[in-house]
Subunit: 341 residues, 2 copies
DNA sequence: TTAGAAAATGACAGCGCTGTCAATTGTTAA
DNA sequence: TTAACAATTGACAGCGCTGTCATTTTCTAA
């Protein structure tokens, strides 16, 4: 029924040990032998038994996805991408939801990792942005791949898959500017999130590129929540119009904030986008469920995650990764919440 | 470092086979022996090695969560609940996202199940509502627990954890009636979903209990989408007011529809809740991010899932389940989208 | 009390693979 | 051509557990 290593060995006329070598990409197998074995593997549709591998070997074929993210859509996409890579490469995935604020969370995760003999971790924010945490893990000789905001890896601790929020934010801001806006506010997410910083940088860069002076009254320090968007927009739209302070456009650090801003604008009887343009970021499902629908930026999370997991598995296997993309730039999605001034 | 069955055997002075028996709740172990072993297990903090178990035994210690649901929040909650049960009972979880519409999906799932030697499945809608699918699986002697809408299991194919949407829908409708509404519309989800049927029944039952005639103009057959809510509400709010047809309240089959209805009402310049009350169902995160916030019904998905998974594992182990709750009634959450007529 | 049956326990093989190390084959340089 | 070495391959043990079956202990009834 299910082929074992023995069947492959017989069919290809070598010992099981040699088959094992081929399956693990070990060197010192003659090319000819390797091909014979690979043919047999294909013919029998052989897949190594994970349990046996784990039991017999010192190596591990399990990676983990450790997450703490309030955005379920993000998590699901990431997870499915990682899962796809695992399937492809015969790895197992351990899902580890947790609370990054919890006191001994690092110890707890390390304990789980050890117990389950995890070979590597895929990390997304906030974990991926915590160098101390990453260092603790890599010090254990556990491989890590981080998915994070930025245009280049911040350190050498682990390979990174970068999401260039800065360029994307610049594009969004430019879109607003092209629409004729020059009083563009920015409602930030948590200041300690890399994504906030990057998106802010993109915003500033766009202003500068267009010779628009930055007005610090138009910067709201908020957090990634609907509530924060409501409060931020209220504050902004209460600014003195004659003093040239009240914005004609708001760039919100994510869609949730943007939805809040929309809500507040509505409360204050501003028409969107006639009197006020609002842009979000992330292209979360509810950016299509606001009124009007949000202009935002989209990133291919599933693909990013699959790539990151493949990279991780290559690292674990000590193969060189086959030139995967390691930087993604979210793309502008224009919908109905932004318009000409 | 990590204790093995051997360590336990030595410490408790019995053979490893006996320890194995205790670990697997097998009969024919004297009570005294069992206790000795359990003490040693506790002392050494012993946990059986899953890989070895899988390799050696014919039994499996893996269950799978097969899902296809567009609602990421639902999926994440379910998954985390199942995961919690697995942790507790030393089982492994295989996550299997898939597309229920895909042609050979049943075959594909069966193949995965066999390959991974899965002992049982947790099923949520739409899979849990497909008796043919369930039968295919149970015929393979694979255990199944279904989570579904209703007040009692529809058949004997598998144990079920029921979510009593009917009672909850009745409560919501009653809430509307208590607010003084008697022209209450219903925007349905897909007619083939059990949840739609159940919620509709609850709606009708509430009307009947209050001697309110059902007006079929107020029933919109839609689907679980924002779009559908928009269209449904537009249609409803265009009804002739003098003909006594236009509703003063809309009960939407879920929050997404309700959000759409809200959107449409806004477009048509109806004030919520002064001129129109709108209620949703599901308590999804964006029910808090609409304007105004949605009145809805909440169900403890994580708890439900944990319970279902525990039940499944008990079945697999042939232990009697310890009287778990098998019916949940979602609870009314009153927010700002419903008000007095 | 004791044979006979039932209950409780243990010895041992082996699940499918990898690690170790020995055996074989191929290659190089004198 | 051959010793010396490197590359390739294979034999075998054993990972931690469970299934089978034999053995020991306990219980029952005459």
């Amino acid at each position: 029924m299910k082929a074992t290593i023995n069947d492959v060995a017989k069919l290809s006329g070598v010992s099981i040990k040699t088959v094992s070598r081929v399956m693990n990409n070990e060197p010192s197998v003659r090319q000819l032998t390797r091909e014979k074995v690979q043919d047999a593997v294909k013919e029998l549709n052989y897949q190594p038994n994970l349990a046996a591998r784990n039991l017999a070997g010192t190596k591990s074929y399990t990676i983990a996805y450790v997450y703490d993210n309030p955005n379920a859509y993000y998590v699901i996409d990431m997870q499915e991408g990682i899962l796809a890579a695992c399937r492809q490469q015969g790895f197992e995935l351990l899902i580890n939801p947790c609370d990054s604020q919890q006191e001994n969370i690092t110890e707890e995760i390390i304990s789980t990792i050890k117990h389950a003999r995890v070979a590597g971790l895929v990390l997304t924010p906030p974990f991926s942005e915590n160098p101390d945490f990453v260092k603790r893990i890599t010090d254990l000789d556990i491989h890590v791949v981080r998915i994070m905001s930025g245009d280049a890896a911040p350190d050498e601790l682990s390979p990174c898959v970068m999401v260039n929020d800065r360029d994307a934010a610049q594009t969004i801001t430019q879109h607003l500017i092209d629409l004729g806006h020059n009083k563009i506010a920015f409602i930030a997410g948590e200041a300690e999130h890399m994504s906030t910083i990057e998106r802010y940088k993109g915003y500033r860069r766009a202003l500068k590129a267009n010779n628009i002076d930055f007005n610090k009254n138009l910067l709201i320090e908020g957090e990634y929540s609907f509530e924060s968007g409501v409060n931020g927009a209220k504050k902004l739209m209460s600014l003195d119009n004659s003093a040239d302070d009240r914005p004609s456009a708001i760039f919100s650090c994510n869609d949730e904030i943007a939805a809040g801003a929309l809500f507040a604008a509505r409360l204050m009887n501003f028409n969107i986008p006639e009197q006020l343009s609002i842009a979000g970021f992330e292209n979360s499902p509810f950016s299509r469920q606001t009124w009007p629908k949000l202009t935002t930026a989209n990133q291919p999370n599933k693909e990013i995650a699959k790539n990151a997991a493949s990279l991780l598995i290559s690292q674990i296997r000590k193969q060189k990764s086959n030139h995967e993309i390691s930087q993604y730039v979210p793309q502008l999605v224009v919908r109905d919440s932004t318009g000409k001034v």
